[in-house]
């Protein structure tokens, strides 16, 4: 236990919290954007996974982490495109499509892995950014995004229309806002951000591993809800998850005699407790999940 407390005051501990939080934060910013426009974003998990695969693949081909990250963002956008086509264009149920896209990403990345590398488990080692957290451009990009995302919502034309589209699409439409276009933009942005989150996973890990998203998309979505759909607060919730996870890692090492299952479950319990009330009742965008009506 004392060992645990020691590590808590260490610099390395907090660096680890940040590093663990990055993919959560990127995905959560995307999730907040999509959900504020009225589109449920359960597909975050799939976007992370596909983004990670594309990143590893392109980074491997080009031997450039930059191109890899770009490919990750593009792949995330591509998944978002499919998602948009299904739920915006064809108005399919957003929760069902979200779950199915995650299944699809799961199967497809393994399938492509097999085609590209003859393995269902992992890609060969690929280049990543070097020089630790401080030298990682994706980390700084993530930090910058956290700073600008809140004002993007509150101070820009796009943000105003985004909020209107998620709260009362008919009202937005009646003053000439093309709700479909706003939602397409939001969904695509979410794809790009979650794709970048996937890029982080692949680059930080120097390669793709099947199912490497490991439920992070769902946690990111929980963070969005905990943050009451506000980007800065959602990012904060992600840091909280990162903190809980880091604690969990260190508690295991500290060997408290607690069953690991209990320690492992901390973030999930935390989510449920948070949702149940200590953050106060959070109100979803009123038109969340409601397809736009003509």
């Amino acid at each position: 236990m004392s060992g645990f407390l020691e590590s808590l005051v260490g610099f390395a501990f907090w660096v680890q919290v940040l590093r663990i939080s990055v993919p959560y934060v990127l995905a959560a910013l995307g999730g907040a954007t999509s959900e504020r426009s009225g589109v449920i974003d359960l597909a975050l998990e799939g976007k992370l996974l596909v983004g990670a695969f594309a990143t590893a693949w392109v980074a491997d081909l080009s031997q450039s982490p930059w191109l890899g990250a770009l490919a990750g963002a593009a792949a995330g956008a591509l998944v978002a495109l499919l998602y948009g086509l299904l739920v915006l264009r064809w108005r399919a149920n957003q929760i069902v499509v979200g779950v199915a896209i995650n299944l699809l990403a799961f199967g497809l990345t393994r399938y492509l892995l097999k085609l590209a590398y003859g393995s269902t488990s992992s890609s060969p080692p690929t280049p990543g950014f070097e020089g630790g957290l401080a030298g990682n451009p994706l980390f700084w990009a993530c930090a910058a995004l956290v700073v600008v995302w809140q004002p993007l919502f509150s101070r820009t034309r796009f943000g105003l229309r985004l909020r209107a589209a998620g709260e009362h699409p008919q009202a937005a439409a009646s003053v000439g806002v093309v709700v479909g276009r706003v939602r397409w933009a939001a969904v695509t942005l979410s794809g790009v951000l979650a794709g970048l989150g996937g890029a982080w996973l692949a680059l930080d890990n120097h390669g793709f591993t099947a199912e490497m998203s490991g439920g992070r998309g769902y946690i990111a979505l929980a963070a969005v809800i905990m943050g009451k759909w506000r980007p800065a607060a959602a990012a904060l919730a992600c840091l909280l998850f990162g903190f809980a996870e880091t604690c969990q890692l260190h508690l295991q090492a500290a060997d408290l005699g607690l069953p690991t299952e209990v320690i492992r479950s901390l973030p999930y319990l935390l989510t449920m407790v948070a949702l149940a009330g200590f953050i106060g009742r959070s109100r979803a965008p009123a038109a969340l999940g409601v397809p736009e009506d003509v």
């Binding site: 709260e167 008919q170 009646s174």
Partner: protein
């Protein structure tokens, strides 16, 4: 430019169908500057559809739309286009985003920018200026969800003014306003028309039409059936044109006052109901309703009428006081038990509370009575069907089709379904009726009023909350006026027939009555 046409908005041969329903059938309409032009018709006649087509919100299936003489291609028309060409619309259901501020709502869609960011300060100033000029007080920075209905109405109009428009379309703007607010709104509209705007006004209140409009277009079943001169025509004439038959604008009723020796059915003592934030919506309120008595409840929206009715039904918790029905204490009971004990409720919000829109009519008619139709083998569909057919016929619901989806009905007919159900409860002894005719056409109003009076005749006690003063005056045996959660005064018996009764009520409603 061959036309000598002075119409700013001209529709010719406009058609629009929803599936099999032809909502607009080759409609012609010309709106000219400097006039208030009324558009009337029964529920579902196609008024809103026509105006939404003109505004570009719905695409016409056929016909031509001209704005200021210029033909707008059907497929290019959109709200954005309409706004750009000076058409503004205030919708039947408010088109405001509740979580945004007033100014954000106003600029939405045409946001001015400064250095790439939203500029809200400029428009806020402009709004204050407009508020002052037209007497439409509202704080630009307030969030819309915190505003009263009247204030929201003002926001809608301010938005149109801020955008600047030549044609102003208002779809039932007065349905939720108090008389004083209506008067002020009409003043503004008259000013605007005088200054050269064209105003299109959709309403069900025919006396308003007569007071304000110079031209009246009457629609029935998707077509224009008559064009009248509003300055000379009477309400009865308009009503006849709308419905296609004589309509009794005033129902027959017996003498006022509860029957002698009538038992007290509903007794409320010291009732207190709080709003979410802890302020009192209803404080220390007491009232009684006797058998065979209609007690009217007047008040400006937001003075606790809604909360009172909801607390009586059990939809809202009460903080203090007692409610009893024929001597039985209801305070501790749930909604279901109160219904079983003999309450009936016609909710103010029929779409959210009164009906399950995706249920069939027969299922809707069983709502709240589901226990009665359940036997050993579950729901007795056959008995339910028989009952539904009877109720639909009695309630004059059209279509009287038990398997029709409630969503497919017009507003008036939806309300008739709710009425039919609540009046049909075998055990009902007190009927709580909130805004039973809001947004409902005169044909349906006539039927609903008859239903309420018939219930009174059977010895049912009725508590009737309505924003429509003529309705209260016509039906009630007694009218209580609520102000700030309390009963501010009451008019009974002959007082209600006295000339100026409406004015007296209006005074009480604004707290100027010197409550005792």
């Amino acid at each position: 430019m061959s036309t000598t046409d002075d119409a700013v908005l001209a529709l010719s041969g406009v058609s629009r169908a929803f599936g099999a329903v032809l909502a607009n059938d080759r409609v012609d309409l010309r709106v000219t500057r400097g006039h208030v032009h009324a558009l009337v018709g029964e529920n579902g006649a196609g008024k809103s559809t026509l105006m939404r087509v003109a505004y570009g919100e719905l695409r016409a299936d056929g016909g031509e739309i001209r704005l200021k003489g210029e033909l707008i291609p059907r497929e290019r028309h959109s709200p954005r286009e309409a706004i750009r060409r000076g058409v503004g619309m205030v919708h039947q259901h408010f088109m405001l985003v509740p979580t945004l501020s007033v100014v954000e709502n106003v600029v939405l869609g045409r946001e001015p920018l400064r250095r790439g960011l939203l500029d809200l300060a400029g428009p806020a100033g402009a709004l204050r200026e407009l508020s002052r000029r037209f007497g439409l007080e509202v704080e630009p920075r307030a969030r819309v969800e915190e505003l009263s209905v009247g204030e929201r109405q003002r926001v809608e109009i301010l938005r149109v003014l801020w955008q600047g428009c030549d044609v102003l379309i208002l779809d039932e703007p007065t349905a939720v306003l108090a008389p004083a607010e209506v008067r002020r709104l009409f003043g503004v509209l008259a000013d605007m028309a005088a200054s050269g705007l064209a105003v299109v006004l959709i309403t069900h209140k025919l006396d308003e039409v007569c007071a304000l409009a110079e031209r009246v277009t009457v629609m029935r079943q998707g077509r224009v059936v008559d064009e009248l001169d509003g300055r000379v025509v009477s309400a009865a004439t308009i009503a006849r044109a709308m419905v296609g038959r004589e309509v009794l604008l005033r129902v027959e009723r017996g003498p006022r006052g509860a029957p002698p020796g009538a038992a007290t059915l509903l007794r409320v003592d010291g009732l207190r109901v709080t709003r979410g934030e802890g302020t009192d919506a209803v404080s220390d309120l007491s009232l009684v309703v006797k058998a065979g008595e209609i007690v009217g409840l007047a008040g400006v929206e937001g003075n606790g009428q809604r909360e009172l009715v909801e607390a009586l039904v059990g939809l809202r918790p009460q903080a203090a006081g007692s409610i009893s029905l024929a001597g039985r204490e209801l305070s501790r009971l749930g909604v279901g038990e109160r219904l079983a004990a003999g309450l009936g409720h016609v909710p103010e919000d029929r779409l959210a509370r009164g009906l399950v829109l995706d249920f069939s009519l027969e299922e809707n008619l069983a709502l709240g009575r589901q226990g009665e139709f359940c036997g050993w083998f579950g729901l007795d569909r056959r008995r339910l069907r028989v009952e539904a057919i009877r109720l639909l016929a009695e309630g004059d619901v059209r279509p009287a089709e038990p398997l029709a989806c409630a969503r497919a009905l017009s507003g008036g007919n939806q309300q008739k379904v709710v009425m039919a159900r609540e009046l049909s409860r075998p055990a009902a002894r007190v009927l709580l009726c909130a805004q039973p005719t809001r947004g409902v056409d005169i044909g349906a109003i006539e039927h609903i009023h008859r239903g309420i009076l018939a219930a009174r005749g059977r010895g049912v006690g009725v508590l009737l909350a309505s924003a429509d003063l003529p309705e209260l005056l016509a039906l009630s045996d007694r009218v209580l006026v609520m102000f700030k959660g309390r009963v501010a005064g009451q008019l009974a018996g002959a007082e209600l027939d006295a000339p100026g009764a409406a004015e007296r009520l209006g005074e009480l409603m604004t707290g100027a009555g010197g409550a005792t």
